[in-house]
Amino acid sequence: MTDAIALFLILLGLLFFFSGTVGLLRFPDAFTRLHALSKADTLALGLVCAGLALQADDGLLRAKLLLIWLLVLISGATCSSLIARAALAHGIRPWQR
């Protein structure tokens, strides 16, 4: 049962990684691509970590996986804003329909 849930979580994570990549390639400008990365990829990594954590019976290993995910989450959230800000400051205007 736990195996099945872990499998499902990791597969879901892979799907989000895939959609992040598709967004990176399909979206029209840097800002929209940032949306794809900052949301889809961080959640995807979280799902992969959760799946692996389910497989582990050691609480500290789970905590380590959580720590790794939190680090990527916090860095990713800040970096997205930094890139968006730098792009605006360099005169890149957001794409509009």
């Binding site: 794809a36 380590k64 959230a77 968006a84 957001p94 509009q96």
Partner: protein, 183 residues
């Protein structure tokens, strides 16, 4: 900026006042060391100096102000965060994978009620993880947000987030109606 500086110095003038914060910091760092070393008992000969060094060495950066957490605030914040970030990822995934849908992005200004300081930074980072929003700049009174689509629920989401962040930092907001403003 002077205000934040003043609050930062309080701890230095009254060393005892900083004691709870310091012990919380030490406990937190020790917990991380424990996780890193996988609970190894003999690692503490390295761990104790490591925790002290990590607590004592500061990078010497300007602080945005004291971080004050509130536990009930945290409990109210977490479900909202999990729900919104899942929804945010789902929405952007659907937008990316759907063969015909295209984003309709726009830059908006969201007037902030949170006072300047860590709460604002926290909110700005949070905005990057919730549905369809990406914070670009914090100005004196508002935060500039790049949104994928200006949906009706957008302002409600942002207002909810701001309230939850205020809870988390144990701050009071006088709730006024939020308005969308074009920069």
């Amino acid at each position: 900026m002077d205000v934040t500086r003043a609050t930062e110095n309080v701890g230095m003038r009254r060393p005892l006042a900083a004691l709870p914060a310091l012990s919380a910091r030490l406990i937190g760092l020790a917990a991380i060391w424990w996780v890193l070393t996988d609970g190894s008992a003999d690692a503490w000969t390295w761990g104790i100096p490591a925790v002290i060094a990590a607590a004592a060495l500061r990078p010497g950066l300007r602080s945005a102000g004291a971080w004050r957490w509130s536990l009930p605030g945290l409990l109210r914040f977490l479900p909202v965060f999990v729900w919104y970030s899942t929804r945010g990822a789902l929405e952007v995934a659907i937008l990316a994978l759907h063969p015909r849908r295209r984003p309709d992005p726009i830059l908006i200004g969201y007037p902030l009620q949170l006072p300047p300081g860590p709460a604002r930074i926290f909110l700005a980072n949070l905005i990057n993880l919730v549905p369809g929003t990406l914070s670009t700049r914090i100005t004196a009174r508002s935060v500039e947000i790049h949104v994928l689509a200006a949906t009706p629920s957008l302002m409600r989401i942002l207002a909810t987030l701001e309230r939850r962040v205020a809870d988390l930092f144990a701050l009071d907001l006088e709730s006024g109606p939020a308005e969308v403003r074009r920069p």
